[in-house]
């Protein structure tokens, strides 16, 4: 079997989408000045909420909505902790991720009591976009995908347009650079950061839902498997720019697809765990080569306190 074929590229896109959604989520919160380490937990909670809702109602789209709502709810909790109570963002984010993970495992056991074969649903099927999907190479790779994938594509220019062309986007970027300046110009930094975290949570929830409603069709505890953490690195790699972040996500989708193929091809005789580690190792390598030269939003991780100036 040839490892690099059209199927490989289609798989790369498929695996890149949750990274893309997660990266856009992290980009939004970081651009507003909040490092959201809760993303891993948000993705996992979104995955479970989406899966169990879809399993209970039989509607995949209700599952998607549930995932978005769950992610946003965790985003709201995170926002209260780091914006209102001004707790340390690193510790809080890790705490939110770990708590969410624990709760997900617990609720899963409550909801699906039978052990043995894991429950599964019929996931989204792919939709070929008329005409576009007939373009050689690009068509089958990019335009024979899931509906959620097309939504993810649209999110990239939409987010860029929002950030760079609208007053609200300018306010968001300014709050992440210098909240005092934004406040002096009449913007409420806490409000902006709060909304950014809500949106980031919603996107992270959607990324989680994609994993089992589109890509895998079942829920396992390891379904997110550190993808949230990778998104943190991809934001740096993509220099906080939606388009560059999308490219970074695609690249890592390809690495993920590559290691999956290596595992199944049997052409390289190595323990499969080594292949599993490939995306994470690639993250480190990419950071070494590219991460040092970048500077993030100036007020990233700085709590805003109107009384202290």
């Amino acid at each position: 079997m040839n490892i690099i074929d059209i199927g490989f590229f289609a798989a790369a896109v498929r695996l890149a989408i949750p990274l893309l959604l997660g990266t856009l989520s992290e980009l939004t919160s970081e651009r507003s000045g909040t490092l959201n380490l809760g993303i891993e937990g948000m993705m996992l909670a979104g995955a479970l909420a989406g899966f169990s809702t879809a399993a209970a109602t039989g509607s995949l789209w209700l599952g998607v909505l549930a995932a978005i709502a769950t992610g946003a709810a965790i985003g709201a909790i995170m926002a209260v902790l780091v914006l209102i109570l001004r707790l340390d963002q690193t510790v809080t984010g890790l705490g939110v991720s770990m708590t969410a993970t624990g709760l997900v495992f617990y609720s899963y056991r409550l909801a699906f009591t039978e052990t043995g074969t894991p429950p599964s649903i019929t996931p989204f099927s792919t939709i070929a976009i008329p005409y576009l999907s007939e373009i050689p190479f690009l068509g089958p790779v990019f335009f024979n995908q899931y509906a959620l994938t097309y939504i993810a594509y649209l999110m990239v220019p939409a987010l860029a347009f929002f950030l760079y062309r609208t007053p609200a986007g300018l306010a968001l970027r300014s709050v992440g650079e210098n909240p005092q300046a934004a406040a002096a110009a009449g913007v409420n930094p806490i409000r902006v950061r709060f909304l950014a975290l809500l949106f980031a949570g919603a996107l992270a929830g959607l990324a989680g839902a994609y994993l089992n409603l589109a890509a895998f069709g079942s829920f396992t505890f390891g379904i997110v498997a550190g993808r949230g953490w990778i998104c943190l690195a991809l934001v740096v790699l993509g220099r906080w720019n939606p388009f560059a972040c999308a490219a970074a996500a695609l690249l890592f989708g390809a690495v993920d697809a590559f290691q999956l193929r290596l595992q199944t091809s049997g052409s390289v005789d190595l323990p499969y765990q080594l292949f599993l580690a490939l995306p994470y190792a690639a993250t480190l390598v990419a950071m070494i080569f590219n991460g040092r030269r970048t500077a993030g939003p100036a007020a990233l991780m700085q709590p805003y306190d109107a009384e202290r100036r």
């Binding site: 609208t166 007053p167 300018l170 300046a181 002096a184 110009a185 009449g186 913007v187 100036a298």
Partner: protein, 509 residues
């Protein structure tokens, strides 16, 4: 005309922080097209009052009327929409964004989009009307301090400010830039904007204002029309409540060269690579370093103090050349350095005053013996300095970061002078200090000079340079472009050199 409704009336404003009354029933009125000077020492309550007006603090009592209508300012956004604009001492702008983006920030936009076209149009109008021009495409971090201030003023005008508050607007400007600011203010005044001008610089207050209001200890103690009867002395007396002390330079003996710096080359700044700097400061001499901030003064001080070595150059003290300069080596050689960023570079803010007082010497006798710290000696030393320099609050365990700027400066001066340095480099010694604290610091410097110390005084404040220095050197784009005895310098020649208008030392000589 006399019955015209004032553009702004603050009446009975009271604001307390815990037990401290920052504003006590303060009343202030600004008429259309009037420039009101607001004077007062540090802690007199000026800034608190302006923060109340600008929606950053909420007053406990009192009312605010804009054009006769009572308003409730609960946020900065309210204040802005009510036509109040503020130009703060430290510009609050988003460094990485362009001038245009900073102007657009907080504006509603049109159809949900940023309205760049009409913003550019408005920027041009403001440029034409008031001579306030800026390139909209430049990122803010590339702007000089004066240009940033212009940005703040333009931003207030973008929001159709009817009242403009300027908090110490001239402290960062060259004399020529001050003139530019003043002509813009006069044009605004002619358009009916009411302006509150806060400053410590009495000459400027007298030059630009129509009326002067003086605050002391949270209350308005005087309000006078700015006419011929107003003098610097009368204003300063109103501010302090007694006749202020002003340190006057008296002729004295200048000794042998103490600090000699040769061929110091700083990193390039602007288009040209900087000229090597040669400086000699004699025993008992103060060399004033003038220049707009950001023209290499900090780099020069750090180069000589061994903090950040220059690309080339050598330093000697009392004829002994220093081979491997580092802060510790320079300190051993008798050099003391008081940087302008007191909290960032001079102190560890969260640490107690007593520990900060021995920050660089805690391992020397009598503070340490055989590797053990002697806490009692440190405490005694701190208490002695607190008493001698009247540092408040007189608590050696107080974290330095919680002390006022004036007391921090007293403490750092106390620390460095306690060890009788042979050379002192001091940057912006009185920035942000009030009249009494300034006099104190100036007196300390004079005493040190008389004892034979060679002092390099870096200051943005030309009055201070002229008041204390024996010679003045002007820095521009990381070079010393002009050096002269103080007797042959004038504010205008120094001001020109600060703008780089005197090309080289040779040409000026």
């Amino acid at each position: 005309m006399s019955e015209e409704v004032p553009v702004l009336v603050l009446s009975g404003i009271t604001k307390t922080f815990g037990n401290v009354i920052a504003n006590n029933a303060v009343t202030l009125e600004v008429r259309r097209g009037e420039i009101v000077g607001l004077l007062g020492e540090n802690g007199a309550g000026k800034t608190t009052l302006m923060n109340v007006l600008f929606g950053l603090y909420r007053a406990d009592e009192g009312t605010i009327l804009v054009e006769g209508k009572q308003i409730h300012v609960t946020s900065t956004a309210d204040a802005i929409s009510l036509g109040i604009g503020m130009v703060q001492q430290h510009s609050h702008a988003v460094e990485r964004h362009t001038v245009l983006d900073n102007l657009l920030l907080g504006l509603p936009g049109s159809n949900g989009l940023l309205d760049k076209t009409s913003a550019l149009q408005r920027l041009k109008e403001i440029g034409d009307a008031y001579g306030l021009r800026l390139d909209p495409a430049r990122p803010v971090h590339t702007l000089a301090v004066g240009e940033r201030q212009r940005l703040d003023i333009i931003r207030a005008l973008f929001r159709r400010a009817r009242v403009l508050i300027l908090d110490e607007p001239t402290s960062v400007l060259t004399p020529q830039e001050v003139e530019g600011l003043f002509s813009a203010l006069r044009a605004l005044k002619a358009d009916g904007v009411g302006i509150i001008f806060i400053s410590h610089k009495l000459n400027e207050v007298r030059a630009i204002t129509d009326r002067v209001v003086v605050m002391r200890r949270g209350e308005v103690v005087a309000g006078v029309d700015n006419d011929d009867t107003v003098t610097n002395l009368s204003l300063a007396t109103m501010m302090c409540g007694h006749e202020p002390e002003r340190v006057v330079r008296v002729p004295h003996q200048i000794g042998d060269p103490r600090l000699v710096a040769r061929g110091i080359e700083l990193d390039s700044h602007g288009s040209q690579s900087p000229l090597p700097i040669n400086l000699t400061i004699h025993s008992g001499e103060i060399l004033g370093i003038a220049g707009v901030s950001g023209n290499g003064q900090v780099a020069l001080a750090e180069a000589i103090a061994g903090v950040k070595l220059p690309r080339h150059g050598s330093v000697s003290i009392d004829g002994v050349s220093i081979d491997n300069p580092s802060p510790a080596v320079m300190q051993k050689a008798g050099l003391a350095f008081i940087p302008e960023d007191r909290i960032g570079a001079g102190f560890v803010g969260p640490m107690a005053l007593k520990d900060n007082m021995v920050l660089s010497r805690f391992s020397d006798a009598p503070f340490s013996r055989k590797g053990w710290i002697n806490w009692k000696n440190i405490l005694d030393f701190a208490n002695m300095q607190i008493a001698e320099y009247d540092i408040r609050p007189p608590d050696p365990r107080m974290p330095v970061g919680l002390m006022s700027g004036g007391n921090q400066q007293k403490a750092i001066v106390a620390r460095e002078l306690a060890f009788e340095p042979r050379v002192l480099i001091i940057a912006q010694p009185t920035r942000g200090l009030d009249v009494s604290a300034i006099a104190f610091v100036h007196r300390s410097l004079m005493r040190l000079r008389d004892s034979g110390c060679a002092i390099m005084l870096i200051s943005d404040d030309l009055d201070e340079i002229f008041q204390l220095s024996d010679r003045v050197a002007v820095m521009y784009e990381n070079s010393v472009v002009w050096e002269t005895p103080i007797e042959t310098a004038t504010v205008s020649t120094v001001g020109l050199a600060m703008n780089g208008s005197l090309p080289t030392q040779d040409a000026a000589a």
